[in-house]
Subunit: 191 residues, 2 copies
DNA sequence: GTCTATAGTCCGATAGAC
DNA sequence: GTCTATCGGACTATAGAC
């Protein structure tokens, strides 16, 4: 057995989510998070650049996942259809994490600073998506617009999934996201 | 003549933009901004909630402008067409502010914290837009999707306008935004 | 206008893993 | 020995409290 308990970043993230939920983000100090995880303040900052980042460590994985799905779309697929495949991958990613996602989203919704961080993560996702589309030969500004469209559709679908009643089993995230995409197409067509 | 120089918030904003441009956002302290404007640090925080906000004081006006244009759209107009009218109003707002907009955007682009703040301002704009559409009878999620589409189109058009060469007189912002909207419709239609 | 808490950085020390 | 993760303390600036 090692000198340290394993999975330091994970313990810090869990402690942070607990404390942010219990007493709010602003009322929680980094020292308290570290203490609950059995570590010091200094160690927290070695794993996370700041107090917000501890809630967003999963966003890199999500980005890789969606980028791969879009890159692997059939060659002739229209940009928006390639993006739709990326959205399916995202839904799969979240499928068995709904309880965690809800706890986390409740904390974020309650604090403007955390919302800012979430928005820049989504902007990073959009940029990665646009980049992947460009590699597929999509020109600007179509690539950026398709990517932004994808993120907008994701946001709407995700929000409905989070808000859905516990027992609404039939409405999984993939379905809600697909419905949002259909609605999006109608809106863009001027209906 | 009054006891103080007039237009305190404006002087602080100008001093901040100058210093952020000269030496970078992070390398500038609030005390320095206040000093350049002939004021104290404490006064800065009475006018602006934080060091970032000083670059975003115009966003409230912009929001009101676009909301009014959308609210005033013809009754039968489709959501996306109402949003397009809002975008025209935005272009007008920026028309004679290009030099300022470029300086400001260069500072924002160079710093992640400022980008976060910009994104939450755009999210606020999107929310106001969606709210206006709902007042016009547009249901969810169409209202949110049309609003997000409008912001995405604005972003693309604005970026092209900022990046355009100084002497590209023929390409004003309104035109670039309209082109982005056309491209957006094509992307959503699966082309 | 002064005072203070806390975020976040920098320096170095330590100690197990390899 | 080298690498990496921990900890301790001092320090600055933001931002809020009084």
């Amino acid at each position: 057995m090692g000198r340290w308990e394993p999975n330091t970043p994970g313990r810090l993230a869990e402690a942070a989510l607990e404390l942010y939920s219990e007493r709010g983000y602003e009322q929680t100090t980094v020292a308290e998070i570290a203490k609950r995880a059995g570590l010091t303040e200094r160690t927290f900052f070695r794993h996370y650049a700041d107090k917000r980042e501890v809630l967003f460590s999963g966003s890199g994985d999500l980005e890789k996942l969606i980028v791969r799905a879009v890159a692997d779309a059939p060659e002739g697929a229209a940009p928006i259809d390639a993006v739709a495949l990326g959205l399916d991958a995202v839904s799969e990613f979240f499928a068995d994490r709904r309880d965690f996602a809800r706890r986390r989203q409740a904390v974020i919704t309650a604090n403007a600073e955390l919302q800012e961080r979430e928005l820049i993560k989504l902007a990073s996702l959009s940029a990665a998506l646009a980049d992947t589309l460009r590699r597929r030969g999509v020109t600007e500004p179509a690539a950026s617009l398709a990517a932004e469209a994808g993120v907008a559709v994701f946001k709407v679908g995700f929000e409905r999934w989070i808000d859905a009643a516990e027992n609404a089993e039939g409405r999984d995230m993939a379905q809600l996201v697909r419905e949002a995409l259909t609605e999006f197409r109608a809106v863009a067509a001027g209906r």
